[in-house]
């Protein structure tokens, strides 16, 4: 039992929780959060793998940095898309009313 193993397992569970959430949840924001949790689980597996040896593995760290930027770009795009959908849905029913 080592910390690598703990985080490998925790990462797998997180990934699965994200996948499950994506399949079961309906609200777009929740689904987007689920995908982010799935991503965090994947990154956790990668970083736990990087932490195995004497020195941590810089290649995996670099891959995760790339993955994080990809994740945040996609999240931002998805959220804006979700907002646009709800705006156009409510726009069909009544004139759009700025919230807040």
């Amino acid at each position: 039992m080592s910390s690598t193993l703990i985080f490998l397992c925790a990462g797998s569970v997180l990934w699965l929780m994200g996948l499950h959430g994506l399949a079961r949840l309906h609200h777009p924001i929740r689904r987007i959060m689920a995908i982010n949790i799935m991503g965090s689980g994947t990154f956790m597996v990668m970083i736990a793998l990087a932490n195995r040896g004497e020195h941590s593995d810089p290649v995996l760290h670099a891959l995760v940095v790339t993955g994080l930027v990809v994740a945040v770009s996609a999240t931002a795009f998805a959220l804006r898309l979700a907002v646009a959908i709800s705006a156009h849905k409510s726009g069909k029913q009544q004139a759009p009313e700025p919230n807040e």
């Binding site: 193993l5 997180l14 959060m33 195995r52 040896g53 810089p58 760290h61 994080l68 959220l79 646009a84």
Partner: protein, 303 residues
């Protein structure tokens, strides 16, 4: 028995799992988002614990900070809606399937506690010729620079994608005086820290992405406080900023291919300076793109 370190690790992972679960399934969406931000911060601590300070910085800035702002902004405009409940039979079957997949996953990761790791050795062997002394930066901007270049294109595509959306009718709230005063102090600080992170990236944890994200956070804050004018894609300096990173990167790659040494192959005596140049351009591009993603509106973006 259990050492203190293991106890800490176990507590951390259990907390993460609980936070993730409640963030997804809690009744109020707002609570879920707050918990999700907390999850991101705890994740940053986990990365630091696992010896990845670069990622801890990136996660805190990008994962927790910007994603949190994005989620809350989206919630304000979409509004919560009660999710319809699924019949319990399907929940049960999903649960059984989940446990099965989990067993497969755990069986697959168990042997990974030890494994061959040829790359870290190679990285440190070639670190001297890479032009920087921090291994993660060396991988990002030299050994696997092509990934990084494409990743900048991903960011650009997200900006372009948001640009295709038609206006959603959204008015920015009026900012209070205190917020304005506080952002006047914070924004310069974020610029200084971003510059420091960028400079530090060549020899220690830090680098273009962390710096860009921090810079973007400063810009977003100023914009929300109403201290910055609207960010328009239509202004050519904005477009130039967004595209600069890719142009500089591609330019250096193509010049290398043209002048002899090869695609993305930096001449050894210049590699340090070239990497710095790319990093500065990339930082500005990332900051501009992320700010457009978070606060750019179609009315402001489009024609």
């Amino acid at each position: 028995m259990l050492s203190l370190e293991l106890l800490f690790d176990i507590t951390l992972s259990v907390l993460l799992l609980i936070l993730a679960g409640t963030a997804l399934h809690v009744r109020h969406l707002y609570t879920g988002i707050v918990l999700f931000v907390a999850f991101g911060l705890l994740l940053a601590i986990t990365w630091a614990r696992l010896g990845a300070p670069d990622l801890a910085l990136a996660e805190a800035a990008i994962g927790a900070g910007l994603t949190g702002v994005l989620l809350l902004a989206a919630l304000a405009r979409i509004g919560p809606e009660p999710p319809p409940r699924r019949p319990p039979a399907r929940a049960l079957s999903a649960g059984v399937l989940g446990v099965l997949v989990l067993i497969l996953l755990i069986r697959a990761v168990l042997p990974l506690e030890q494994g061959p790791q040829p790359l870290p050795g190679l990285v440190s062997a070639h670190l001297d010729t890479s032009g920087v002394s921090h291994p993660v930066t060396a991988v990002l901007l030299n050994f696997r620079a092509w990934d990084t270049l494409l990743e900048l294109v991903v960011l650009l595509l997200a900006v372009l994608g948001v640009r295709q959306l038609q206006p959603a009718g959204y008015k920015q709230a009026h900012a209070w005086t205190l917020l304005r005063a506080w952002s006047r102090i914070l924004a310069p600080l974020s610029v200084i820290i971003a510059g420091y992170l960028l400079w530090r990236g060549s020899h220690a944890p830090g680098g273009a992405f962390q710096a860009g994200a921090l810079l973007a956070a400063g810009i977003v804050l100023l914009r929300l406080a109403g201290l910055l004018p609207v960010l328009r894609w239509d202004d050519w300096p904005m477009r130039a900023l967004v595209l600069m990173g890719i142009v500089v990167f591609l330019g250096i790659a193509a010049a290398g291919a043209w002048l002899g040494s090869g695609w993305l192959n930096y001449p050894p005596q210049w590699s340090g300076n070239l990497i710095l140049l790319i990093e500065v351009a990339a930082t500005l591009s990332i900051a501009a793109s992320l700010s457009l993603l978070v606060i750019g509106e179609r009315e402001e973006l489009g024609t």
